[in-house]
Amino acid sequence: MTGAPILAAKGVSRLFGPNQVLFDVDFELRPGEVHALIGENGAGKSTLMKILGGYLAPSSGGLEVDGTPVSFASHREAEAAGVVLIHQEFNLAMPLSVEENMFLGREWKRGPFLRSKDMQAECRRLLARLDCKVDPRLRCRDLSVPERQMVEIAKALGQDARVLIMDEPTAVLTARETDVLLEQIERLRAEGCAILYTSHKLGEVARIADRVTVLRDGHRVACREATGFTEHAMAEAMVGRELSNLFPPKAVPGDEVVLEVRGLTVPGHAKNASFRLRRGEVLGFAGLVGAGRTELMEGVAGFRDASGEIDVFGRRVKTGDPRATREAGLVYLTEDRKEKGLLLGFPLSQNLTLLALDDFTRGGVRIDKKAEVQALARAVKEYDIAARDLTMTAGGLSGGNQQKLLIAKTLLADPGIVIIDEPTRGVDIGAKSQIYAFIAALAAAGKSVIVVSSELPEVIGLADRVVVMHRGTVAGEVEGEAISESAILRLAMGLDEKEPEPA
């Protein structure tokens, strides 16, 4: 486990415009180790990783490969040196197929022609290692978010890296897929590959990491062996203060049914789903990846063609009309931040108010920009969004802060019912507890929340009642004390099938 560092950063600093996000950071990565980098949202983890991967140049300081100073002019040089980065945000061309994306820029050729068959086979092989059965010919646009992440990982695995840098690879994965990924990481470690890894799921870090480096506000505050570094200690090191209980106490739901869905079918994704939501309730939705929770919720919110009955606050809402659904008081927070959630090129304030723009419009025609700025200032404070510059674009925020902005945007519309799909994707542990507090506060204020999440603890910790989906159908429901990981998993895997599945 000793030996010279394969890749090291020496006194690296980085500025974006006038804002410094990394301060004189030292960091080293040895062959055959899994090194975890943890820190709050906006601490500078992605920035450091991009510098190590050659995507960004340090403002000062330098890198060393095998002890010799290098400066990567581009990520291409880094890749030539065997350093491969998996981005936090997807780096896939959506109209292209899985295979095309995996081999983009390094296609296999025979003469001038592509070896499509071989590449497809290789693609299948790499995906199979990750236990992912995506057809390489499918376009990435047609994949679900977790499937896209698997493709990204497979793409990196195919590059025979000496150093593999993974920026929150598991943020969008469920426990099962995470397990598969961690196995692969262990395999690579055994092969002598150095792995740099970030995650806000500290359990994972404790499980896999050999060493842990903690960043806080761009400073390296700790670097130590992982053994004996408890999750609790990590969280404290990151946040710099004592953390209270992660989950707030659950509110007691009322009796009034505010949302009733009967026999909703989203063609190709969910069939004949029925459930109801009461005032002040937090309803969990669990299921394996691909169970169709997202699609069902998109159907409920009007974003997909669906058939069935949806009553919002006792009024029948036309399916397939998002605006009407929103006006009835139901909003949906998407799991796909980049493609459906935020306009990355737009300023923060415009992103924040887009959904609730009507509330900022005076006389039906004039947007009150002052009010927008105030709303942003409020949201930044309330949701603790780390934006050093309020005029920046949403794309300049760190991943977790984008998620917070998205939540702020959705809740700004002051809905009676919120469906939150993957509420804490990529959010640090401190912010997570904040978001949980928001959700609980919403419920306490008489709003109703549906939480769709692939993180079982989250569903269990928040929800009064959990609906479990399996392959597009509602497999069952667990409530109150009965909510447990094993109960949910049994349903999610289809073991407690109420009706025999038709052939």
């Binding site: 909003v331 998407t334 493609e339 959630g341 306009l343 737009f346 025609v365 947007i367 050093r388 005029t391």
Partner: protein, 343 residues
């Protein structure tokens, strides 16, 4: 480097501490078209003394008005990620219909202001209807805008030729004398087209900057999915951009008809290209997501001035006018070129 670090150290107090201090650099993107316009004006004034005369300025502004009014509408269409190639032929068609309608109304209504007002109404409605047809095919039937409007371009152009029987549709002579002041006169010695153009530009700028409509257009152009998930009625807004453009074509036609009192199959040829070029010279992004109405206005003025200057200064073979135009158009945009992607 040290200076930068000191600077950074100041903001060190905390990621969120810094007040909303707007970081504004001198932005060539924004200044580009204005600089180009200023350079052209200087060139014109240098080449010919009459260039800045009231008469010439009026001429240039008034004749810019048609394409200018259309370009304002086009800005919204392009900002929302669309395109409209049919505006030139739509203008010809609208002018034709308007002339036919006015001529037909002389019989019952006589040569009166009322006939003219009704005629204007016809122009507005025709434009609006044509725009809505485009919009419906694009937003509801979901056909590629390029194809819809290319098809519409052919349709309107040939309908106009057909209405005119291959020739020219002319407004009744007396009616024209009555209508003429709408192009040539106006209050305070400023002709109507200029005033209407200014009004449309100001309203357009307000709508783009400060109204939900402009915001929604930009959102749709930037990422239609996100707009949809933000409860923007994507189809309706998209439809509205084309309808608005159609309406503005109607407005432009109202100013155009009194000028020469006629319309033919060759009316408005290439207006679409000029309008689109003006919009893009003005800094609007062709792929959508960002629009600048005042930029389009500046773009139209740049294009008109190039013609005007080439006519006023007989420097070269007139055969080369097109080449000079082309080069100036490219130069006008060089200043606001895309930043290096690495930025």
């Amino acid at each position: 480097m040290t200076a930068a670090q000191t600077d950074a150290a100041q903001t060190d107090t905390g990621p969120t501490a810094a007040a909303p201090r707007p970081r504004r650099r001198i932005n060539l993107h924004v200044l580009g078209p204005i600089l180009a316009l200023a350079a052209l004006i200087a060139l014109g004034a240098f080449l010919n003394d009459n260039f800045l005369s009231a008469g010439n300025v009026q001429n240039v502004l008034a004749r810019s008005a048609f394409i200018g009014i259309i370009a304002v509408g086009m800005t919204f269409v392009i900002t929302a990620g669309g395109i409209d190639l049919s505006v030139g032929s739509m203008a010809a068609f609208t002018a034709g219909i308007t002339i036919l309608a006015m001529n037909a109304m002389i019989e019952p209504l006589g040569v009166s202001v009322f006939t003219i007002v009704l005629g204007m109404l016809v122009a507005l409605l025709t434009g609006l209807a044509a725009g809505m047809v485009n919009g419906a095919l694009i937003a509801r039937v979901r056909i590629e805008p390029f194809i819809v409007t290319l098809g519409a371009m052919g349709v309107y152009r040939s309908l106009t030729t057909w209405l005119a029987d291959g020739g020219t549709l002319s407004l009744n002579f007396e009616l024209r004398s009555l209508y003429r002041p709408v192009y040539y006169d106006g209050p305070f010695g400023i002709s109507w087209p200029i005033l209407v153009f200014a009004l449309v530009a100001i309203l357009g700028e307000l709508a783009m900057r400060s109204a939900p409509f402009g915001r929604h257009c930009a959102a749709i152009g930037a990422n239609e999915q996100v707009a949809r998930y933000s409860a923007v009625r994507v189809d309706r807004v998209r439809m509205a951009t084309y309808a608005l453009l159609g309406l503005l074509v109607g407005v432009a036609t109202i100013m155009y008809v009194p000028r020469l009192g006629s319309a033919s199959g060759s009316t408005g040829v290439l207006w679409e290209l000029e309008a689109i070029a003006a919009v893009i010279i003005g800094g609007t992004v062709l792929k959508g997501g960002f629009g600048r109405v005042w930029g389009a206005v500046v773009g139209v003025l740049i294009l008109s001035l190039i013609d005007n200057i080439l006519n006023l200064a007989s420097i070269v073979s007139p055969y080369l006018n097109g080449a000079i135009q082309g080069v100036i158009v490219i130069l006008a945009v060089v200043l606001q070129r895309e930043r290096k992607a690495e930025d």
